[in-house]
């Protein structure tokens, strides 16, 4: 009887989920309620978690709850420490959830709500969650080793080096694109610029408080910081109204880009406790709080989705970025469905806290499900806007024209009516001078969030909600920016240490300054080009980031597939092998199109040649002709970089296939590096409390 009830509940969830997904997919013409998205997501997640994830954990990985984890065996009361599973889940989720799943779906909404939503759901349950869970498992069985170390130990030195280079490259591109998103959100917006700048001294005050004034009182200090942050959002409004003060914070994109670079350099050199650590506390609270608030608001408000299911831009002519639905929707969504970066957290960091192997499903698979849910909410926030407004905010001046009248005429001609007055009223409500061509995804997400929050919790404070949303995005983008610069610095110091050992000393100031400057110069260059690019830059940088991120995911899945085969689990190798195959397909297709595509909005070389011809013929307007040589060089560089990424991917795939075929042929390969079984002595549910 009991079993019957259970089965019927699962059948009910399956039917509900299937109808919700079907409803979203088949709906045409009429608007559809956001609640369908939430229902579809929750049902798909529940079924995948209950059946697929459980099956992988029990049959493929064979998690063993009697086995002591590294946290138990190597417990040192600090980084290695058995920790309650909910706490580990919190740490893991806070670490993997960044701005990626917010920006990606916003940009991918140019194809309509359907393609992105389907990939966020199914890409996550079949790809991203599997990657995170398997990597977490493999690292737990290997004393919490990092992805790079596992690649080296199991595949060979080549795999390890490839993982290292891949991580470094993705970091540079990631920081550049995130920097660009922040710059575009602050451009000529004194309110946003003030609020974002205020986060820096606020983080420092918080840092000083918890380090020197009241050492270790993390929560007290954080509370102070969060209050100051909220005050800075309100304070920005006062600055904006003040004649002279507002000029202090009203800047061109390029000026802001230089400031961001200076900030990145300072953050990488300053001690962590002063800026990085306290900023991270604040951004984590704001992030978790805002995401929860957004979920509550969407459920309360039940907004209608106004974007059509599919737009004409699936043919590759989209105004936000060029490229057809396949493969670019997958490349653009990136982190919301599958993110290679997560493999770096799931290996090395999270396993050091894991008390019992049976929690791997909840933390690895469940953590990514939650991340995918955040992406669904970002998709909702982007698609509740009128499509005309959405495209007016996200299309660059280079595509629709710098003049407002031209822009609305062009956007309306696509079938998404919008008027200049409508955009003016909206900008006024949000406390901004203009919302035209505010590319990068952050402003349109903030408008979407502000309208959801405004309708759910009172309409009077739209401008406050808008700038709160901008602050929310900016604060954890800047956290990723300074954490990333710092990690890049460590990697570079490590690499240079092989040539000159003194460079590897992380406390030797000349080395610190030299390597930090190199890393900042790396991403600063791409940020600079992105800012001066009349097409907005995001259209170039985001696909590049997507390709790099998916490549890193492919590396993680290569390691996982290789280990599964070496562990005599050939018949289950498809669990990681199929997502890997899919990633190889989309990354390679996208890379080839970006390199060799004839369309100037897609192919890097085609665009470079086109620009060269136009420059030679003298048909470019003067302001464009000045930056053209830099843009041409950058387009060529991007093409070579893409070629490098895709070659690296194929080399590591061949390396993995080489190891597997040798193993299957009975030839010697590197041995498995799994640590031997030692029985767990922790039995209590709440360990050490």
């Amino acid at each position: 009887m009991n079993k019957l009830v259970k089965n019927s509940i699962w059948i009910l969830i399956a039917v509900l989920g299937a109808s919700a997904v079907g409803g979203i997919a088949l709906n045409r013409g009429e608007s559809i309620n956001a609640l369908w998205f939430i229902t579809a997501a929750l049902c798909v997640y529940a079924i995948a978690y209950r059946f697929y994830a459980a099956w992988i954990a029990a049959t493929v990985l064979i998690v063993d709850e009697t086995r002591a984890t590294p946290a138990e065996r190597l417990d040192n009361g600090r980084d290695f420490m058995p920790t309650n599973k909910w706490i580990v889940f919190g740490h893991h989720f806070a670490a993997i959830a960044g701005p990626g799943p917010l920006v990606g779906p916003t940009l991918a909404a140019q194809f309509g709500y359907l393609p992105g939503t389907l990939w966020i759901l199914f890409g996550a349950v079949l790809g991203g969650c599997v990657q995170d869970m398997v990597t977490l498992f493999l690292s737990t069985r290997r004393n919490a080793r990092s992805l790079g170390q596992m690649a080296r130990d199991e595949l060979g030195p080549f795999g390890g080096t490839a993982a290292l280079i891949g991580t470094f490259a993705i970091m540079i591109i990631l920081i550049a694109v995130l920097g660009l998103v922040v710059v575009n959100a602050m451009k000529h917006s004194p309110w946003a610029t003030f609020t974002v700048s205020a986060t820096i001294p606020i983080a420092m005050i918080t840092g000083l408080y918890m380090r020197h004034f009241r050492p270790g009182q993390v929560l007290e200090a954080s509370l102070l910081g969060v209050i100051l942050l909220l005050l800075s959002v309100a304070g920005g409004g006062l600055i904006d109204e003040h004649e002279t003060l507002r000029n202090l914070f009203d800047h061109e994109g390029l000026t802001l880009a230089w400031w961001i670079m200076a900030y990145g350099l300072a953050a990488a050199i300053l001690p962590v406790w002063l800026l990085l650590a306290p900023r991270d506390y604040l951004s984590t609270y704001v992030k978790l709080g805002t995401i929860t608030l957004l979920a509550i608001a969407i459920i309360m408000l039940q907004p209608d989705i106004k974007m059509p299911a599919i737009t004409q831009f699936i043919d590759g002519t989209g105004p936000i970025f060029g490229g057809k639905l396949f493969p670019f929707v997958f490349i653009t969504i990136a982190c919301g469905a599958i993110s290679g970066f997560h493999a770096l957290i799931a290996s090395g960091t999270t396993p050091k806290l894991l008390t019992n192997e049976r929690d791997i499903r909840m933390i690895g698979y469940g953590g990514m499900l939650l991340e995918s849910f955040v992406a669904i909410m970002a998709m909702i926030a982007a698609t509740v806007l009128d499509p005309g407004v959405f495209f007016a905010i996200n299309s660059s001046a280079g595509v629709v024209g710098a003049n407002a009248v031209d822009a609305v005429a062009k956007i309306s001609s696509w079938g998404y009516p919008v008027t200049v007055e409508q955009m003016q009223i909206l900008a006024q409500q949000m406390g901004e001078a203009t919302l035209f061509a505010r590319t990068g995804g952050a402003p349109s997400l903030a408008v979407g969030m502000a309208s959801i929050f405004g309708s759910a919790f009172g309409d009077g404070m739209l401008a406050l909600w808008y700038h709160f949303a901008i602050m929310f995005e900016a604060i954890f983008i800047l956290t990723t920016l300074d954490a990333g610069t710092r990690v890049g610095r460590f990697m570079l110091q490590d690499m240079l240490g092989n040539i000159w050992p003194k460079m590897a000393e992380t406390s030797w100031l000349p080395s610190v300054i030299f390597t930090s400057s190199l890393v900042v110069a790396g991403w600063g260059y791409f940020l600079y080009i992105g800012v001066i690019d009349p097409n907005g830059g995001v259209n170039i940088l985001w696909p590049l980031f997507g390709i790099a991120n998916q490549m890193l995911a492919a590396i993680a899945l290569c390691v996982a597939t290789g280990i599964l085969i070496k562990s005599d689990k050939f018949k289950f190798a498809w669990v990681t092998g199929l997502p890997l195959l899919w990633l190889i397909t989309i990354t390679t297709t996208a890379a080839l199109q970006k390199i060799a595509g004839a369309d100037t909005r897609i192919g890097f070389f085609a665009a470079a040649n086109d620009l060269t011809d136009k420059l030679a013929a003298g048909v470019l307007p003067p302001e464009k002709a000045i930056v053209a040589p830099q843009l041409i060089f950058n387009l060529q560089l991007d093409a070579w970089l893409t070629l490098f990424f895709v070659s690296l991917l194929w080399l590591i795939v061949f390396d993995m296939l080489r190891v597997c075929s040798r193993y299957l042929a009975g030839k010697p390969v590197l041995p498995l590096t799994e640590s031997p079984h030692s029985p767990s002595r922790l039995v209590e549910e709440w360990v050490r409390d």
């Binding site: 706490i87 919190g90 380090r211 270790g216 954490a483």
Partner: protein, 65 residues
């Protein structure tokens, strides 16, 4: 109700690292004090512990996209 609030507070403190020093002391009492084979080292002060803990926590990839 009161118990739930207490549990919630405990989770918040643990997640934020607010109770890291208490955890360290508990670990110290359990493993180091009784360890006769090693030389006796007194536990770190709260400020010193916090310094080491914070610096260690930020060594490596800790945040994603």
């Amino acid at each position: 109700m009161f118990k739930k609030v207490k549990t919630f507070w405990r989770i918040v403190r643990r997640l934020s690292g607010d109770d890291a020093y208490e955890q360290y002391l508990r670990h110290y009492v359990r493993y180091h004090q009784t360890d006769a084979a090693h030389e006796y080292h007194p536990p770190l002060s709260k400020a010193d512990f916090f310094k080491q803990w914070q610096d260690e926590k930020w060594n490596g990839v800790k945040r994603c996209c």
